[in-house]
Subunit: 204 residues, 2 copies
């Protein structure tokens, strides 16, 4: 524990380790990179890694947890803007579109991880499922507030568009993918709230 000089919350060598692992795992995949590579680029020794993590799997889980917190923060930042429910949905869509167009975008960390860990019983796979459940719930909740017809259906539709955009974002022109995503979200809001009275602006 301890508070040390007051620098980082936990150790500083640990954060360098996790940061390096995050970067390499995200850009190059998980199975294809070894711990040697990570400790070399993080400039720590092998013993240091195993002092902070039980093993490689622990490091992977920490990587996904960090990614999860990043996305939750991204959504929270949109929520803080206090927009109309529909505009909040749009803003989340725009936030995703921006991610896709960011240099170094390499798809969804969770979809990529699931591709490498197909076994549903594996901790990594379960971390993916947990994150996705949270996102689906969040999207469904938002769309319900925006007055979308069957909110479950709309939520799944939104997530499907997001998944498609995230998956294709690094396999095709990111600008076109973003445009398609935004169009899709707009269409979803239009068709799914068709029967609502104009001016029924409900807050998120």
């Amino acid at each position: 524990m301890s508070a040390s000089t007051g620098s980082g919350s936990t150790s500083q060598a640990r954060s360098r380790l996790l940061g390096t692992a995050t970067r390499i795992f995200y850009t190059e995949g998980i199975h294809s990179v070894g711990v040697d590579r990570i400790i070399a680029e993080a400039q720590v020794t092998r013993a240091t890694l195993y002092r902070h993590f039980k093993g490689k799997e622990d490091l992977i889980l920490a990587y996904l947890q960090q990614a999860d917190q990043g996305i939750r923060g991204q959504v929270a930042a949109v929520l803080e803007q206090d927009l109309t429910a529909a505009d909040t949905v749009r803003a989340v869509g725009r936030s995703i579109a921006e991610s896709i167009q960011t240099p170094g975008f390499r798809g969804c960390a969770f979809l990529n991880a699931a591709a490498e860990y197909p076994d549903p019983a594996h901790p990594v796979h379960q971390a993916v499922l947990a994150h996705r459940q949270w996102f689906l719930d969040t999207a469904t909740h938002l769309l319900a507030q925006a007055g979308c017809a069957p909110a479950d259906t709309a939520g799944r539709h939104f997530v499907m568009l997001r998944d498609g955009a995230m998956a294709a974002g690094c396999l095709f022109d990111p600008a076109l993918i973003s445009e398609t995503l935004l169009n899709g979200v707009e269409g979803l809001l239009r068709t799914s709230t068709a029967r609502r009275l104009p001016g029924t602006a409900d807050r998120s």
Copy 2:
């Protein structure tokens, strides 16, 4: 070459090898399975593998090529039904939905491969890009025939729904994913052909 007894086109040990590789790569991923595993389950020796393939990478490429042919066949089977262009699009959507609900469905072989081979210069990654380009072109062509507004936009929208469905199909209830996909395709056809005269049935 030779014709041998007339059994298989190429060797029979080779097809056993490729079939085993396809099954294992698809269900468990690529990097996480070694050639030892494949030759053991295919019941061939190491020398036999290297007689037919230059190396593991060659085997992976053959696996993807086989998957590509399977999907092309799937689309071709729909095309042979000689439906309305719009109904052809629907049938392709249904075909994808059926795949998702098939036991053992593990997502899109190409999206999964791309997650493991992010380097755009890598032959495996390029095989993925080539397959996806073909599919996008095919979808765009079909939607154009169905009278969809800007066919490029509609094609990208269709592919995005497919990608989302394929990616999520093994991470969520396949039946709900299929329903969402079909709804999305229906919505795409509706909004994208809104201005067409009824009865303008054009063949594919």
